[in-house]
């Protein structure tokens, strides 16, 4: 906002921003506040009462949760990596080349994205069981990859299209092979796009509940969202609200960290100055 704004405008802006922030952050803040309460304080309807790490102790001493955390990190990372590599190549091809079947590929990708996961999860369950990949990492990586590819392809091809083709031709004339041009010119320039797509894919895989709940049965591959549903807390006789809150905070933190790290790269706008500005 520039200084041209009047006091009234500034006031309205401030109120607007506050409303949005409150709307977005109150549930998160409430979960965080619950996670620091002892079981006795859980029902006291106050934002700030006690402050204890008891719930975090419970969560981190729970083998199921630790296993789920490792599964989540592993599965989401691998799915993201594969998805981005495949999507980068597909997006590069669709944004640069004119080949028969290009529209088919793009509309196919869109069609995949339109399928509600719930509609195929039943048949996947049967298929995975007969294939022997039920309750394994790969059993989750495949659907995550499949469902995130369209999104990644569309995001990345938008970024690739932004990169002037001349840059690549200049590299070719400079003596680069097509692969060198891709690796040394296009990929560094598309980095913001790659990070954006990575975050979106990672968040999808990290947050998924349907596949994780249906296609896993043990700690071998169960991810955090699914594990939380089975969470019992310290004993079976009390509501594990505090522990679940603590676990929720724990699974949210990696996402926040990741976004904060990559945010800079995303905003950096590396292509500035490529051509006449």
């Amino acid at each position: 906002m520039s200084e041209k704004h009047t006091a009234r405008e500034r006031l309205l802006w401030t109120i607007g921003i506050l409303v949005v922030l409150l709307y977005a952050l109150i549930p998160v803040a409430w979960i965080a506040s619950l996670s620091f309460k002892t079981p006795e304080e859980i029902g006291d309807k106050k934002f700030f009462s006690g402050f204890s790490f008891e719930n975090y102790d419970i969560v981190f001493s729970d083998d199921t949760f630790i296993a789920a955390l490792i599964n989540s990190i592993g599965i989401a990372s691998i799915a993201t990596f594969i998805s981005i590599v495949l999507a980068a190549m597909a997006a590069y091809a669709t944004s640069r080349l004119d080949f028969t079947g290009k529209t088919l590929i793009l509309s196919g990708a869109l069609a995949v994205a339109m399928f509600p996961p719930i509609s195929i999860v039943g048949s996947l369950f049967e298929m995975w069981r007969s294939l022997g990949i039920y309750d394994t990492w790969i059993g989750l990586i495949i659907p995550y990859m499949t469902f995130t590819l369209p999104l990644a392809i569309y995001t990345l091809s938008a970024f690739f299209r932004e990169i002037p083709w001349e840059l690549e031709q200049a590299a070719q004339v400079d003596g680069a092979t097509p692969f060198q041009a891709f690796r040394k010119i296009i990929v560094p320039l598309a980095a913001p796009g790659v990070f954006t797509a990575s975050i979106l894919v990672f968040i999808f895989a990290w947050n998924d509940f349907i596949f994780a709940n249906t296609l896993t049965s043990t700690d071998a591959a169960r991810t955090v969202p699914a594990a939380l549903a089975f969470f019992t807390g310290a004993s079976q006789f009390e509501q594990p609200i505090g522990a679940i809150s603590a676990a929720s905070v724990v699974v949210t933190v990696p996402i926040i960290i990741m976004v904060l790290i990559f945010q800079r790269r995303i905003v950096a706008g590396l292509t500035a100055g490529a051509v006449k500005g």
Binding site: P164, E166, V173, D174, G273, V275
Partner: protein, 430 residues
């Protein structure tokens, strides 16, 4: 250093559109050749075929003595300067210029040396560690040049390298480009749509239209002896004046009066008596009649009502209109008019505007009748059917200009033949 030969090169797109047709051009070692023409004439396509960025449908392209049709751009040893510079935005100026050398696996110190040397030539030394986004337009342009220079390639290819600069900088960089090319003596093919750039920069200029080379020659050849209407209208600023003309006996009837033809011209149009022709007169071949001395009997005087006077200090442009009772129709002139507002052609019943370049000493006044003189020996007469300049010997060996170095053997002759036999209705250029 190498010579580039385009031997009957054709570019045909899958939809059948021919961007470049049977192009013959020989660029000698160290020569600076310009491809010029309106947008869509195929000049950039031709350049990109030389670079290897565009496939060649037919014909043979040789760099040095090797056929390079099927070689990747990286194996052709050429450097290209792109219209929008195509600098790598994530690399510093130094890395941009050194990129090609690094790819070649050259030693780091050697790269540094070459980059520094190129930066010195281009006056970029203090900017070596900056990113392209921190540079001004002119500096970016010089980095793009630098990227080409460091490689010491067989040839430079430049695709409208100055068109993104503002007018003043463009003139400055034009001199710069010329200086660098002369200093390095590297074979250069330069594409532009700006005829002024073409005329000032090139050793030789190839004028293209609708995928065909119209004429290849030194700037003065193109200016003084354009082979057809298109070249005549395209080259020169202000453009040549065109008007309807009919030859009767030894005089030619022009809208402003009858002009007696000198015998050479008369002979040239012998077969066109009584037919409708198009006359072309350059602005500088008019003069204030009172300032013409002994030359007076080379031409004819007439009176015109001066409508606008533009005084440029060293020269004076007088605009006047002439009434014509005839129509002239020419696809080439229409294209020119569309492209750059080039030739002004009076249509039926309309009045044609004429620009005359007069001596600044002239006393003509706006709104008054003035007595003007036209040099009949410099008159061009064109056949409206196919645009051919009847007053220039068609397909004549370029040696007639006395400038042997300016022409490739045989190639220009083939080009003009191409022009001469071209059916007028076949041109649906965009």
């Amino acid at each position: 250093m190498a010579q580039i030969t385009l031997d009957n090169i054709t570019k045909r797109y899958p939809d059948g559109y021919e961007a470049v047709r049977h192009m013959n051009l020989e660029v000698k070692d160290g020569e600076f050749v310009i491809l010029v023409g309106p947008s869509g004439c195929g000049k950039s396509t031709a350049l990109r075929m030389i670079a290897g960025l565009e496939d060649i449908t037919e014909g043979e392209l040789r760099i040095g003595d090797q056929v390079v049709n099927d070689r990747a751009p990286k194996d052709r040893d050429i450097a290209m300067v792109f219209q929008n510079y195509a600098l790598y935005p994530h690399m510093s100026v130094r890395d941009n210029m050194g990129f090609a050398l690094k790819l070649r696996g050259m030693d780091k110190n050697e790269i540094n040396e070459k980059v520094t040397e190129a930066a010195r030539i281009l006056d970029l030394e203090q900017h070596l560690d900056r990113k392209p986004s921190q540079l001004s337009g002119g500096q970016r342009q010089r980095v793009a040049m630098g990227r080409a220079i460091v490689r010491d390639p067989a040839a430079f290819l430049m695709d409208e390298p100055l068109s993104n600069l503002d007018a003043k900088l463009r003139v400055q960089m034009r001199t710069e480009v010329s200086r660098i090319q002369q200093q390095l003596g590297t074979t250069t093919v330069y594409v532009t749509h700006d005829q002024t750039e073409a005329m000032t920069l090139g050793d030789r200029v190839a004028v293209m239209r609708a995928g065909l080379i119209q004429q290849v020659g030194s700037p003065m050849e193109l200016y003084n002896e354009p082979v057809n209407l298109f070249v005549a209208g395209f080259v020169g600023s202000p453009a040549m004046n065109f008007m309807p003309a009919t030859v009767e006996g030894d005089t030619v009837k022009l809208p402003f009066g009858d002009v007696k033809l000198p015998s050479e011209l008369h002979d040239a149009v012998r077969d066109h008596h009584g037919k409708q022709l198009i006359a072309g007169i350059r602005p500088e071949h008019f003069e204030d009649a009172s300032l013409v001395g002994d030359a007076r009997d080379h031409g004819t005087t007439f009176t015109a009502n001066i409508e606008v006077l533009e005084s440029m200090g060293a020269e004076l442009y007088a605009h006047f209109t002439v009434a014509s009772d005839a129509t002239i129709e020419s696809q080439e002139l229409r294209e020119l008019a569309e492209d750059a507002g080039g030739g002004e052609v009076p249509m039926a019943g309309e009045e044609g505007r004429i620009v005359a370049r007069l001596e600044p000493a002239s006393q003509v006044k706006v709104g008054q009748e003035a007595e003007l003189w036209v040099d009949a020996t410099r008159l061009h007469l064109f056949d409206p059917e196919n645009g051919v300049n009847l007053t220039v010997e068609q397909g004549a060996p370029p040696a007639t200009t006395g400038d042997g170095a300016a022409a490739g053997e045989g190639a220009p002759a083939t080009d003009t033949e191409e022009t001469a036999v071209r059916p007028p209705e076949g041109e649906s250029s965009t």
